[in-house]
């Protein structure tokens, strides 16, 4: 009983530590303009006004569309390319394999700001500046190492013997893949997609450096440019509401796929 109490207390500390900042921004987003500056942790007056405001401004809606579109496209491409490479790394033997692993490790450590200035110039000249592809490209690049590590760790765990067994059971090569291997690989691919999506969703540095208009600005950048409904209004409420909106997908992922995310992060980064 004593041990349980101790663990319960520690658990509570962790939960509070993790959740308070999130709850705080949620609280701000529900405060009325009048109570916004009262410093109370829990709103005295609840309102949905802030949410109404942001969804009425083109600025936010457009940014949300950009964020979703860019993150989804980057995720799909990175996961497809990453799956191909990870399959090769975990199943085939070919010269240059360790070089590839080394290069992706290098990129995982790469200081992203070092790419900002050359990409800024290159993209301006290539007409990619302030476009979706202009952000998707660096996102794919930095998501690939993550995807490759996570997926190869997953692929190494798949008992590939099953492919043989399926063939003995009368399956063709294609059937063996579709009915036996694919269902086993799917969770790994899915988990990787979540991690990659979170990564792209989160980015701020590239998004603020390689965009200049609403055409391709993502939400994190739009947040930092928020001025509120009118010039004279304090944007705190609107920013908070927008922040809560882009936090929702993350919370959903974490709630529904906690185990997978933990497995993906740990297997990809440290291999036992």
């Amino acid at each position: 009983m004593n041990a349980k109490l101790k663990w319960g207390l520690l658990d509570a500390i962790v939960v509070v530590f993790a959740l308070v900042p999130v709850l705080w921004i949620v609280s701000l987003s529900f405060k009325t303009t009048a109570t916004l500056t009262d410093g109370n942790f829990i709103p005295r007056d609840w309102t949905l006004e802030n949410y109404r405001t942001i969804f009425q401004t083109d600025q936010f809606v457009r940014a949300l569309v950009n964020s979703i579109g860019i993150a989804l496209i980057s995720t799909v491409i990175a996961v497809v390319l990453g799956t191909m490479a990870a399959y090769a790394i975990s199943r085939l033997d070919f010269p240059g394999k360790s070089l590839l692993v080394g290069v992706s490790l290098l990129i995982a450590m790469f200081p992203q700001v070092s790419l900002v200035s050359p990409l800024f110039d290159i993209e301006r000249q290539a007409g990619l500046f302030d476009t979706w592809p202009g952000l998707i490209l660096p996102y794919i690049t930095f998501a690939l190492p993550l995807a490759i590590y996570t997926l190869s760790a997953f692929f190494k765990q798949i008992p590939w013997d099953l492919e043989k067994a399926a063939k003995m059971d009368g399956a063709t090569q294609a059937e063996a893949f579709r009915k036996v291997i694919a269902p086993l690989a799917a969770p790994g691919v899915f988990t990787t997609a979540i991690l990659v999506f979170i990564f792209c969703w989160n980015d701020f540095l590239f998004a603020i450096s390689l965009t200049s208009t609403e055409q391709s600005r993502t939400v994190p950048v739009a947040l930092s440019f928020f001025t509120g409904a009118s010039q004279f209004e304090d944007p705190t409420g609107a920013i908070s509401a927008a922040a809560v909106v882009i936090t929702i997908p993350i919370i959903l992922f974490v709630l529904f796929f906690q185990k997978r995310i933990v497995a993906g992060l740990t297997s990809g980064a440290v291999k036992g």
């Binding site: 962790v14 692993v101 700001v113």
Partner: protein
């Protein structure tokens, strides 16, 4: 690229140990390639080519281009004055107080936050690994800081410390404005970093904890080791590779600190990091020459630190073959 040579080197070392175990393989490999082997190679290359191409095209070429730009006077506000100046930009940057201040701030943030994260992360990892109740709840909560958009978290901290608005500001320093003073602002930045990334550290450490065999701990306690001794003498040594990998990743990540500073102080009162001033020179100042010089310097700094980690501590590259054979 100096770290480039270390990673394949580490992988090659792994290769060597394997060859010592099975010497006959090494000799066999020298034989002319059979058809099956050639096909395997071709398929391997084919599958990796797109990923490798994208990664190299979007990093290697720009970093070289960046070096080329850094040798020029190149200000988009005065495009006509573009001129090749060799290392003049480097002299300018390295002789500049703001650069060194930003460098110091970056190092300070990195060292302090990583050390605190290591301690807190270890605690969190132990809690997540061992807790008797609510394991799912703890893990789920811990993942939220990891997943949340940094800018969102930064706004939460900013409003928490804004006089009037914030519950923390009113509580801790009702008089002052903590975000406008250098020391307190840096402390808040570090706090925000720690909050955001401790869970990630903890997850990496937890993976290491899972490698410590339960029987080993039991044996140690039979041998009379106290809980603390078990932790220091048994768990830490087994976890060392995981700890080093976690440290390497987090250190290099902390050196990139940008989002939090941008939102919390915008670099005011000498709280800029190197990423922050590189960005300011580039996007705000449109000075491509100076911005690129900073880019190159930051790249070199990171390269050196990674090199030191790999060489000095023998951090195994995750994913390289030797990492998994431990």
């Amino acid at each position: 690229m100096s770290i480039g040579s270390t990673t394949p080197g580490a992988a090659a070392a792994g290769e060597q140990t394997r060859e010592q175990v099975r010497p006959e393989r090494a000799t066999r490999r020298k034989k002319p390639l059979s058809e099956g082997k050639r096909q395997e190679r071709r398929l391997g290359w084919l599958l990796c080519a797109p990923a490798a191409f994208v990664m190299v095209a979007v990093t290697a070429y720009p970093i070289l281009y960046s070096f080329w730009l850094s040798l020029q006077r190149y200000d988009l506000k005065f495009p006509d004055e573009r001129e090749f100046v060799w290392f003049e930009n480097y002299v300018t940057v390295l002789g500049n107080g703001y650069w060194w201040s930003a460098f110091g701030v970056t190092m300070l943030i990195t060292v302090v936050s990583v050390v605190i994260e290591l301690v807190l992360g270890m605690g969190l990892a132990l809690i997540m690994h061992r807790t008797l109740i609510g394991r799912g709840l703890v893990r789920t909560s811990a993942l939220i800081p990891y997943g949340i958009v940094t800018v969102v978290a930064a706004f939460s901290w900013r409003y928490a410390w804004t006089p009037g608005t914030g519950y923390l500001a009113n509580l801790v320093s009702p008089e002052g404005a903590p975000l406008t003073e250098r020391a307190s602002a840096l402390a808040i930045i570090i706090g925000a970093e720690i909050w955001k990334t401790t869970p990630f550290m903890a997850l990496l450490l937890m993976a290491g904890l899972a490698l410590v065999p339960d029987d080993l701990l039991k044996a140690a306690s039979m041998d009379g080791a106290s809980a603390w001794q078990r932790f220091v003498r048994v768990m830490l040594p087994v976890m060392k590779p995981a700890i080093l990998v976690a440290l390497l990743f987090r250190t290099l990540d902390a050196l990139r600190v940008f989002d939090n500073i941008y939102v919390l102080t915008a670099g005011a009162n000498n709280t800029s990091s190197v990423s922050m001033i590189a960005y300011n020179n580039l996007i705000r100042g449109l000075n491509l020459g100076i911005g690129s010089t900073m880019s190159v310097l930051i790249f070199l700094t990171v390269a050196i630190i990674a090199f030191v980690f790999v060489k000095l501590f023998g951090t195994a590259a995750p994913g390289s073959d030797d990492g998994s054979k431990r």
